[in-house]
Amino acid sequence: GDQVEISAISAFNKGTAISKGFDQFVASINEDKNAPVRIRYVGGPEAMPPFQIGNAIKNGVVDMILSTGAFYSNVMPAADSLKLTRYSPQELRAAGKWSQLQQIWKEEMNVHLLAYTNYGNEFHLYTNKPLTSANLEGQRLRITPIYRAFFEELGASVMQTTPGEVYTALERGVVDGYGWTMQGVFDLGWQEQTKYRVDPGFYQADVTVMVNERTWSSKLTKEQRDYLTQKALWLESLNDNNAAISQNERKLQQDAGIQTLTLEGNEKERYLKVAYDAAWRELLDNDEETTKRIKEIID
């Protein structure tokens, strides 16, 4: 059949931990000479500001994006809720939940939700001030909006900085710690300034590949759509490696001198309950209707 070229933009820099799976996805399609689809990788944040990526995919300025929900909350306030999923992408698909989500994303974002990457890469609290219970009072933490409500509810004093300044802020003691995914601490050298990682992890990195709806239904043939869906399933199967990758990351962090602080029993339960309750409450405040629909599917 014919080969069609579609453009793709990522909200993450190529080569970072979050972007790895998608990089492989693009490479494996473009290396396949008989593939019915070619992907023209336009670039990362240097080509499109991450907070504008939602508008770009909605209006078809680009055919495909890789992004997390927090970046396009200006278009779809409830999107960030995917981080709270209790099911893996495979479980979502098997139970028919994925197509329900696809329907919501189609209505809200004008996109076809193609693949869910990075599942299994959980967020953790990293800090230089030890803690023994689910209590963050006295902790000064660098946050992003993804887990601000959670850390604040546990009594932390929070501040925002650009990622480029986190290293200096930790070094000088401007902040005691930060929240980040299990994979990716090494991307910006933060391991040098980190003493402890708090277990358990919370939330999932919710990074999805989306295709503009018009591109999906009009520009692509059924054969091309099926091909991309097969590739999407392969991309999601890479998530299975995340357990092993995270285990390896754990080892690397330990070698870099990051000790593990584990919350157990009641403290662990309270920690996780506050994490999820705070996030749901915030999302319901921003868009009650859609958040409720999503909560019924994934919680």
């Binding site: 499109m48 802020a169 000088r172």
Partner: protein, 436 residues
């Protein structure tokens, strides 16, 4: 469309519009509209471009730009900056080219307080130039040194441009700020030596004056009174960083508050002066940030068009050694710097340069310092040298732009020498770095 057609199309339109005298920011906007229509795709591409523009400067790492400008304007309009100069002036007497030396020392001192080379040049020019002209100084000795040290403000922290460069290029902000200190001082020193040697060889360049004979006692009192407290402002900024009170971005706010407090303690502030300082800050900061709005969007469109990756691949295929690559990049900057302002310079080139620097393993901080020096030089290169235009603005009415060009020329030569020295001895940038 092939990348070289895209790049040729975008750049030639941009240069024609710029040279026609349309304000740079609107030249960029023009190209952005054309580029968005062609590369982002019609109507929705245009709308996306506008959205990206509204978002372009929404970044905390740019907050020091207006803050440092406000600090400088407060020092200038409350007269605190001028008091520093006259205090330094009293320390030096009966030396060839006394006022030229004062402008080098004063300009370097102000550079440690100000992040803005424009503010620095405007301040030194308007406070010293009238007196030098009156005493019959040659334009080269009157305007030259002021122009030469004006740019040091971007090398010695605080420096809004260094912060911008570091955040755009993913360079450690604190490391780049510290790395700029030694080259900054080097430029100050060679400028000073040049002035002394030239004036000693040819006294008519700077006619000697004897109207300042102070008894020894009164020399140091104004120095202590007027210079030392200003250095406390410097320490407010640097100290808040070093002692972990504030992030690098936040430390700029300490400078503003310290300047306000100092002006208050020296009883040299009133509501009128604050009003003027605020208006001037708004003007200067908007003229810089508005260009950033347009040029950030331009560089996104450039990436989107495929020109960035195309050029990168082409240059990587040249298989240059890293030193040749650095020289090629610096030459590009210096040529570009003849035509565009500092921020546009880095906005246009960083999308190409930073990936190249990464792939060839060139030290980012060293590269950042070289870029800063190249930016400093281009402040002085005709036809478009920002400081040359500022100088013509503050100089006596009859001064022609060509006279300003001529005055700056020897100092451009000196700074290129410093650039070559830093290029040859990369260790210069790591002298003050704290080892990991």
């Amino acid at each position: 469309m092939e990348w070289y057609i895209a790049i040729g199309f975008l750049f030639s339109t941009l240069f024609i519009l710029m040279l026609s005298g349309l304000p740079v920011v609107f030249a960029f906007f023009c190209v952005n509209v054309l580029g968005a229509f062609v590369f982002l795709g019609g109507e929705f591409g245009l709308i996306q471009m506008a959205r990206n523009s509204a978002e372009a400067i929404n970044s905390f790492s740019l907050v020091p730009v207006p803050l440092f400008i406000l600090m400088g304007e407060l020092l200038f309009h409350t007269g605190l900056a001028q008091r520093t100069i006259s205090a330094i002036e009293r320390l030096i007497s009966a030396v060839p080219g006394r006022l030229s030396i004062v402008s080098v020392l004063g300009g370097t001192a102000f550079a440690t307080l100000s992040g803005s080379s424009i503010a620095n040049t405007a301040m030194m020019g308007s406070s010293l130039l009238p007196e030098m002209t009156r005493k019959g100084y040659h334009p080269t000795m009157a305007m030259g040194p002021i122009l030469a040290v004006g740019g040091i403000a971007i090398l010695i922290p605080p420096s809004a441009l260094a912060v911008t460069l570091a955040s755009l290029g993913g360079i450690s902000i604190s490391k780049l700020l510290i790395a700029g200190v030694v080259p900054g001082i080097m430029i100050g020193v060679v400028t000073l030596l040049y002035v002394i040697v030239r004036c000693a060889m040819n006294p008519s360049l700077a006619p000697c004056d004897h109207d300042l004979k102070n008894p020894k006692g009164s020399k140091w009192t104004p120095f202590l009174k007027d210079v030392v407290p200003l250095f406390i402002i410097f320490f407010a900024v640097v100290g808040s960083l070093v002692f972990g009170l504030a992030s690098p971005t936040e430390s700029a706010a300490f400078g503003v508050v310290a300047a306000l407090v100092a002006a208050f303690l020296y009883k040299s502030i009133n509501i009128n002066k604050i009003f003027v300082a605020l208006t001037e800050t708004a003007k200067l900061s908007a003229s810089i940030l508005f260009i950033l709005v347009a040029s950030t969007t331009f560089s996104q469109i450039l990436s989107f068009s495929g020109a960035t990756t195309g050029l990168l691949e082409a240059v990587s295929n040249l298989q240059l050694t890293s030193i040749h690559l650095v020289i090629l990049m610096l030459l590009t900057l210096l040529v570009l710097g003849c035509f565009v302002d500092q921020i546009s310079m880095i906005m246009l080139t960083l999308p190409f340069f930073i990936p190249l620097v990464h792939t060839t393993g060139i030290d980012l901080v060293w590269f950042g310092v070289l870029v800063l020096i190249a930016m400093e030089i281009s402040l002085l290169t005709p036809p478009f040298g920002l400081l040359l235009l500022v100088m013509q603005g503050v100089a006596p009415g009859s001064t022609k732009l060509t006279q300003v060009y001529a005055a700056a020329l020897p100092f451009v030569g000196l700074q290129i020498t410093v650039l070559i020295v830093v290029l040859t001895f990369p260790n210069i940038v790591s002298i003050l770095q704290v080892p990991n």
